[in-house]
Each structure stands twice: as C-alpha cells, then as structure tokens.
C-alpha cells in the first residue's frame, strides 16, 4: 500500500525533473508572479496537488491489482477526470505533516467562495501543466490558440 508521504516524494521528484525544462519553469514563475502568489509557496501547493493525483492513480491501480506503468500520466488523468470529491475521498486518514495543507486544498476545491474556486483552478491547472509532457505552452503575445466564441449547444 502506497503512503501519501511516498506520493509526496514522487511528486517532488516529478516536479524537480520537469522544471529542468526552462520554458515550463518560466511559465510557472511568471504565473505565480501574475497571480501575486509567492512562488515557493505556490509550487509547494502544486506539488501537494500532484501528490493527491498520484495517490489516486496508485489507489485505482491497487484496487485493480495492476501496476502503474506511468505514474505521472495516470496522475494527470486523475486530475483531469476525477471530481474534487473523488480526488480527496480516497486519501488516507494519516496524511503526516501535510494534513493541514490537504485540508486547506479540500476546502478550496469546494468553491465555497469565488476567490477559493479560482485559486483551486489555478493550482490544479498548474499541476496538470507540469504533468503533461506533451503540452505546448502558449506564449504571451502570440495569437490565441483557439477561437474565442463558444460553440453554443443546440436548443432543446
């Protein structure tokens, strides 16, 4: 059984490895600056979100009695597809020293206030960006990557 502390160590290793990519490092630094959040604190919170994703992927694999071939990819899938209730629901009671941070993140994820909903979205989106090795980051000043008008659903 994988512990949450092991997932945190795994998350720290993934983040350390991924931030060797200068473009990604610059994106995360400028994002925390744009959002006026201290970079080190922001990165620490993002690592915890990634650890939550990793724990979810390990938990799913253990339930299916199958190994996790690509932990980062399965954590990304979990952070993309699972709702917040499910993400936090599988966490163990013993979260070690991260218990308070995880509790704070869980509160954010409920979207209790507009501010907390946006902060949670920024954290989880940054975690997805770090985990997604295929992603091409958008550049400031470049043309928008997609059309800006929404495809309105059909009536009925």
């Amino acid at each position: 059984m994988v512990t949450f502390t092991q997932c945190e160590q795994e998350a720290a290793e993934i983040v350390r490895e991924r931030l060797r990519d200068g473009e990604l490092r610059n994106w995360i630094e400028s994002a925390s600056s744009t959002w006026d959040i201290e970079h080190a604190v922001f990165l620490q919170r993002v690592k915890t979100v990634i650890a939550i994703g990793l724990f979810n992927s390990h938990h799913t694999a253990e339930a299916a009695e199958e190994p996790v071939p690509h932990p980062a990819q399965t954590a990304l899938d979990a952070l993309r597809e699972a709702d917040a209730v499910g993400l936090f629901g599988v966490l163990p009671a013993d979260l070690g020293q991260s218990a308070d941070v995880v509790k704070w993140l869980q509160l954010l994820s409920t979207g209790l206030t507009a501010r907390s909903a946006i902060m949670w979205e920024r954290l989880i989106q940054s975690a997805r960006i770090i985990l997604d090795v295929q992603l091409v980051l958008p550049q400031e000043g470049q043309p928008l990557p997609t059309a800006d008008d929404p495809p309105l659903p059909s009536a009925g």
């Binding site: 400028s30 994002a31 744009t34 959002w35 006026d36 952070l79 993309r80 597809e81 699972a82 709702d83 917040a84 993400l87 994820s109 979207g111 206030t113 507009a114 909903a117 946006i118 949670w120 979205e121 920024r122 989880i124 989106q125 960006i129 992603l135 091409v136 980051l137 958008p138 550049q139 400031e140 928008l144 990557p145 997609t146 059309a147 800006d148 008008d149 929404p150 495809p151 309105l152 659903p153 059909s154 009536a155 009925g156």
Partner: protein
C-alpha cells in the same frame, strides 16, 4: 429593434443530462454544461415605469478581461436606480465572480454603464468561459420598486 434587444434566449446544453446526473468534472471545459440564459437586455417593470438592464459581451486583450453592464433606458421616470456588474468565470459546478464589482447609482438617460475587470490573468493552454452578470433595481415615483438581472453572452478565453 437592435440586435442587443434579444430578450430571454434560452440555450439548453448538450451536457444537461450529464450535469443532472451529478457527474460534473473538476475541469473547466470551455462550454459550460447545462441550461443557461442570455439576457443581453432585460426589462423590469413596476406600475407604469419600465427600465432595461443590460450585460454586454466580454472583451479580452492581453492579460485584461473587461465586461460592462448597467441600465440602458427607461419608459417613465424612476427616482432611483442602481446596478451591480460582475465579470464571472465558469468553474465547475457553476459561475463564480472573477472581476471586481462595478456599480452605477444613477438612472438613465443617458445610458448608465459600469465595468468589471480581471486585470491579471495568465494565458492558458485551455479555454475558460467568462460572462457578465448584471443585477439592477429601481424605485419609481410612487415608491414601487423592482429588480432584475441580466447575463451577457459567454466568451471562451484562454486566460485564468
């Protein structure tokens, strides 16, 4: 009649069934699921006085997103009018305030408009849906009061 006087266009999302089953994801997909209503202009009436509240489409440039709304015009003479304008973002499971709150405290004419702005957003690889939500109320000369709200059209923007 101007195209902006489109009142009460109801749009039902293809994902409405999914939403009703309570399986909404934590991901902010561009097009918000479910049923939502666009009131670019919306009429509020009390006794013989009627006023039109508006919520404009969202403007986006660089790292700034701006939405405006307020009171357009009245038939009759209201004695007091207020409106509150908020730029909102769709984050599952709903719309939350993203911009500061704009406010108008005078009656039309002329048109009364206030902005709500997000000044620091970061370009993202995925789109987020933004729209303007305006709430307005007015009092007419015999003391009758009413209020209404209007939602502008949704704009998908790759900025958070």
């Amino acid at each position: 009649m101007s195209k902006f006087f489109r009142v009460g266009l109801t749009v039902t999302g293809a994902m409405a069934g999914v939403l009703s089953l309570g399986t909404a994801t934590a991901v902010a997909d561009p097009a918000p699921p479910g049923t939502y209503t666009v009131h670019e202009h919306r009429k509020a009436t009390v006794n013989a006085t009627e006023c039109y509240l508006f919520a404009n489409p969202v403007n986006y440039s660089g790292s700034t997103i701006v939405g405006t709304g307020g009171w357009t015009s009245c038939v009759g003479s209201p004695v007091a009018c207020t409106s509150h304008v908020t730029l909102t973002i769709y984050l599952t499971p709903g719309w939350v305030a993203a911009g500061n709150q704009g406010e108008t405290t005078a009656c039309p004419p002329p048109l009364r408009s206030a902005p709500s702005t997000v000044t620091n957003c970061k370009i993202q690889p995925t789109n987020y849906s933004y729209r303007v939500h305006t709430i307005g109320s007015f009092v007419e000369s015999s003391g009758g009061a009413t209020s209404t709200d209007a939602n502008g059209t949704t704009k998908n923007i790759p900025c958070l």
